[in-house]
């Protein structure tokens, strides 16, 4: 038994690695620049060169602090146009443009030179003191320059470069101070165009980056329990998740306990009474309940029983707003009162599902020969059902029991969102909308781990219910 568990846990490891890779791939492709989100900073910007430099420096420092200045993975397998030193470019938007440019023109060195000269030119332009006659010109040049950082289409770049040239040479003052940098920039731009090697796109290349990379950092932090900090309010992810998990756990466990308590007797009854009218009504009712979308039921309940325009029987929002100082039982009842509707919406679907499974399992068992034998030897029907059939009919619903753990995290997702309960569902959805990815990916990893644990527990429980299942030399 222990050996089996050990083996299963070993098998988890590759599964978890694949899941973590998937999560990581989604996270690095997520739109938006996490560093910018954290600093609430805009790109480009106006102002003086000193300010710009300072901005850039805070950005670079923050990026280093968050570990985004490392390469993404242990290695990269791409085509030859892929810039191997791309991770050194601070801004995410710039990286995307440069990667694209490198793909279009094929030679990363040229594109890198173009980028460096563009930066130099921009800095020089920022050093020019604006006066009354040239300030609008200067503004235009700056806008054009910062748009170049995001442009990769050939004709658009050409147009923008021409515009910049036109504006620079219109004003003597600007021309004098930035002329050299502009020609450097233009030369590198033209060199990039002339030295085009699209054949590089079709040459596969492997770069090796070693252990110092973002994935390694992220996964080793995860293993030791450091999940990072939320971009939004800078609280540690673990404390945010812990706060939310409390409510989701209470809700899910309550709902599952209630569902099992009602569903098992009902399922058994409807299997034993098969063919009776009452049974048919129950079965049909269960089927319809099972197909009812719970977000619809929640919406309807809020409309008709809620405290808005409905009958006002139940609160529909949050968990009550009693202060911490209020007596414990008052707060308890207030919360319980708020729990009624969400709990109902969560429970009915799983309740219907479990009783249907219970019924199916029971029907299968009741057809077995040993049940007939037990009846034939004169045992009471009740005894046969509960003592002989029940235990064997439990097997199918044990698989469902494995769902408790993942359900605790994601099962109440929509219901929490609709009833504004500060649980995992709402936390995750808010994190997704606000692009707070450390939270999203911790939640995703955690719920995957819990699902794996649930599957393992279900497997072990199988053995308790059905001794015929053995763990040694399992054949598939």
């Amino acid at each position: 038994m222990l050996k089996y568990i050990f083996k299963r846990v070993l098998i988890f490891i590759p599964t978890l690695i694949v899941i973590s890779l998937m999560t990581f791939v989604i996270s690095i492709n997520a739109p938006g620049d996490p560093v910018e989100t954290m600093l609430n900073q805009n790109m480009g910007g106006d102002g003086q060169s000193g300010e710009k430099l300072a901005n850039e420096q805070t950005y670079i420092d923050k990026r280093k602090e968050l570990g985004f200045d490392l390469p993404l993975f242990y290695f990269s397998f791409t085509n030859k146009t892929y810039p191997d030193t791309l991770y050194k470019i601070p801004r995410k938007a710039h990286r995307e443009t440069l990667q694209r440019l490198s793909y279009e023109y094929g030679v990363w060195e040229n594109v890198g030179q173009y980028y460096k000269n563009l930066q130099k030119l921009e800095l020089k332009v920022f050093e020019v003191m604006p006066n009354e006659e040239n300030s609008s010109k200067l503004r235009k040049i700056k806008d054009n320059l910062s748009s170049l950082y995001l442009t990769y289409e050939e004709d658009k770049i050409k147009q923008t470069v021409e515009n910049i040239e036109f504006d620079i040479f219109k004003d003597k003052n600007i021309k004098l101070s930035v002329e050299k940098e502009f020609f450097d920039f233009k030369n590198s731009y033209e060199h990039m165009l002339v030295d085009k090697k699209t054949i590089n796109r079709y040459i596969p290349t492997i770069y090796w980056y070693g252990l110092k990379n973002q994935y390694h950092q992220w996964i080793s932090n995860f293993v030791v329990g450091e999940f990072g900090i939320s971009y939004q309010d800078k609280r540690p992810v673990s404390s945010k998740i812990f706060d939310a998990l409390k409510w989701s756990m209470i809700l899910s466990i309550l709902s599952i306990v209630i569902a099992y308590m009602v569903a098992i007797p009902l399922g058994v009854r409807s299997a034993v009474d098969k063919g009776k009218t009452s049974e048919k009504i129950i079965t049909t009712g269960l089927f319809l309940l099972y197909s009812l979308p719970n977000f619809w039921v929640a919406t309807m309940l809020i409309q008709y029983l809620g405290d808005g325009d409905g009958l006002g029987w139940f609160p529909t929002h949050g968990l009550g707003e009693l202060p911490e100082t209020a007596p414990y039982w008052d707060r308890f009842f207030e919360t319980a009162y708020h729990f009624i509707l969400p709990l109902f919406c969560l429970t009915y679907a799983s309740f219907a599902f479990i009783s249907r499974q219970m019924r199916g399992g029971m029907l299968n068992v009741l057809e077995m020969d040993y049940i007939r034998t037990a009846r034939a030897k004169g045992l009471k029907k009740q005894v046969v059902v509960w003592k002989h059939a029940f235990r064997n009919s439990l097997i199918p619903i044990i698989t469902l029991f494995a769902n408790i753990f993942p359900a605790a995290i994601s099962g109440s997702f929509i219901i929490e969102v609709i009833f504004s309960i500060p649980g995992m569902g709402q936390l995750t959805l808010q994190a997704i909308f606000q692009r707070d990815y450390p939270i999203v990916f911790t939640v995703l990893m955690f719920s995957s781990i819990l699902t794996l644990v649930g599957i393992l527990i279900a497997d072990i429980m199988y053995a308790f219910v059905d001794p015929r299942i053995s763990f040694s030399n399992k054949k598939s």
Binding site: P31, F287, F295, V440, S448, I455
Partner: protein, 444 residues
């Protein structure tokens, strides 16, 4: 050559007779017969046909343009014409460009039963219910099922929403079935030790796979992402090119491995544990909470689109189908007719595709029926919370979510929700009917 053909044909006939002896034709007959006995399932199937009809002809049932109209002396078919314009085969006449179709002076005109499109905005009638007084010129223009915050006609939204709901079920389950049947079939048929490859071929296939991925998807990644931005059609086209490229490269490497086999060196053959590998893959996909995964991916996609949602649902729901197919093929591969086909020297993919799979597909149908129900449920959940589905796409779920803004708008709560409920129910009922029909215990 001719002789070879005759030989082939004879082999075909032999296999066919063997298959017939296994009573496969009659198996399907029994399933159909049992299914027909289940009245509720049969009625559900009919309701699906009605939904399919509504989805196919949604443009003719609810549209802002007239079906037929005589305008300034000539007869037009604007709804039909729109198809031609969308396909790029025709262009609107000058007098019809940027016009409000309702306000044109027709000689005579036939409007569709519902003279609105879901996106039409009626500022005079916002938040009006079916029984409220509506500010419309005549009953012809009444909003029979009310409107929402912008005056979108709910009935038109329901009709066009049918199309989206059915498309979600069809496309996502189509993708899921392709992936699931493929993985399930090779896992079940080859098991852990039937596929033996020499080490040299394994290396060649691996290199081939990596290169095929590289040339078909890696170097084309910008082309593909640009195509997503343009339109769904152009994306499918580019994607198809990638797939063809992939297959072509793989076929090339297959010939290479055949050439290597002819070399006088004797490579050791080792069995490939396909079943273990694929079961692990299934476990990975199953252990990620589906709704979370879909919501995270949908939120990450730069340009939300209903088709991306369909693809994601398809990519995450194939495991059930794969398990069914695997279990069936594990059983079928030991049956006589497969063994006979093997003995006759048929190629293995041919045995799988032509002989084994057709007999394995019936349980897969059950998984597909239930899968469609859950796909529709997932899509409406996503539209309900507003993730992944663009705001301007009107679906049943997005209409239902509007009921949360104004709680007196009962029609927005009841009607779309009921439609989702009915659709999910009938697909579940069909799945249930299929399960019963294939249950060997019921066969008398």
């Amino acid at each position: 050559m001719n002789l070879f053909n005759i030989f082939n044909r004879r082999k075909n006939r032999e296999a066919k007779t063997l298959e017939m002896q296994n009573n496969n034709e009659s198996y399907w007959k029994i399933v159909r017969h049992q299914f027909k006995k289940n009245k509720i399932a049969v009625y559900s199937l009919r309701v699906v046909f009605i939904f399919v009809f509504i989805a196919l002809f949604a443009d003719f049932i609810a549209n802002e343009k007239p079906l037929v109209a005589k305008y300034q002396g000539s007869v037009y078919f604007p709804v039909l014409k729109e198809y031609a314009v969308d396909l790029g085969m025709s262009d609107w006449q000058k007098e019809f460009r940027n016009v409000s179709w309702k306000d044109l002076e027709y000689d005579w005109v036939v409007w569709p039963p519902v003279p609105y499109l879901p996106r039409n905005i009626d500022v005079m009638n916002t938040w009006v219910g079916p029984f409220d007084d509506q500010n419309v010129p005549s009953k012809r223009w009444k909003h029979w099922l009310g409107t929402d915050d912008l005056g979108h006609d709910v009935l038109a939204g329901m009709i066009h929403g049918t199309r989206i709901a059915l498309l979600v079920g069809l496309v996502s389950m189509g993708i899921a079935a392709l992936i699931g049947i493929f993985f399930g079939a090779i896992a079940g048929y080859y098991g852990d030790n039937r596929l033996k490859l020499s080490i040299a071929s394994i290396v060649i296939y691996l290199v081939g796979f990596v290169l095929a991925m590289f040339y078909a998807f890696g170097t084309r990644s910008y082309i593909l992402t640009d195509a997503i931005g343009t339109s769904f059609g152009s994306f499918m086209w580019e994607f198809l090119i990638s797939i063809i490229l992939f297959v072509a490269i793989m076929v090339g490497f297959r010939y290479l491995s055949k050439l290597i086999k002819k070399l006088p060196i004797n490579f050791k053959e080792i069995p490939i544990p396909l079943d273990i590998l694929i079961s692990r893959l299934i476990e990975i996909v199953v252990s990620i909470p589906q709704l979370f995964l879909i919501i995270s991916i949908a939120a990450v996609v730069a340009k939300p689109s209903i088709f991306i949602v369909m693809i994601i649902i398809g990519l995450t729901t194939w495991t059930g189908i794969a398990r069914f197919t695997r279990a069936e093929l594990l059983r079928i591969r030991n049956l006589e007719f497969v063994e006979a086909a093997n003995a006759l020297g048929y190629k293995e993919w041919r045995i799988i595709v032509k002989h084994a799979l057709p007999n394995a597909l019936s349980p897969v149908l059950i998984a597909i029926a239930f899968g469609i129900a859950s796909a529709i449920l997932i899509e409406s959940t996503l539209s309900f919370i507003g993730v992944g589905v663009p705001a301007e796409t009107i679906t049943w779920g997005s209409m239902l979510s509007k009921a949360r803004q104004v709680s007196s708008a009962w029609w927005l709560a009841i009607i779309p929700g009921f439609a989702i409920f009915i659709t999910v129910t009938i697909y579940n009922l069909i799945g249930e009917g299929l399960t019963d029909a294939m249950n060997p215990k019921l066969k008398k």
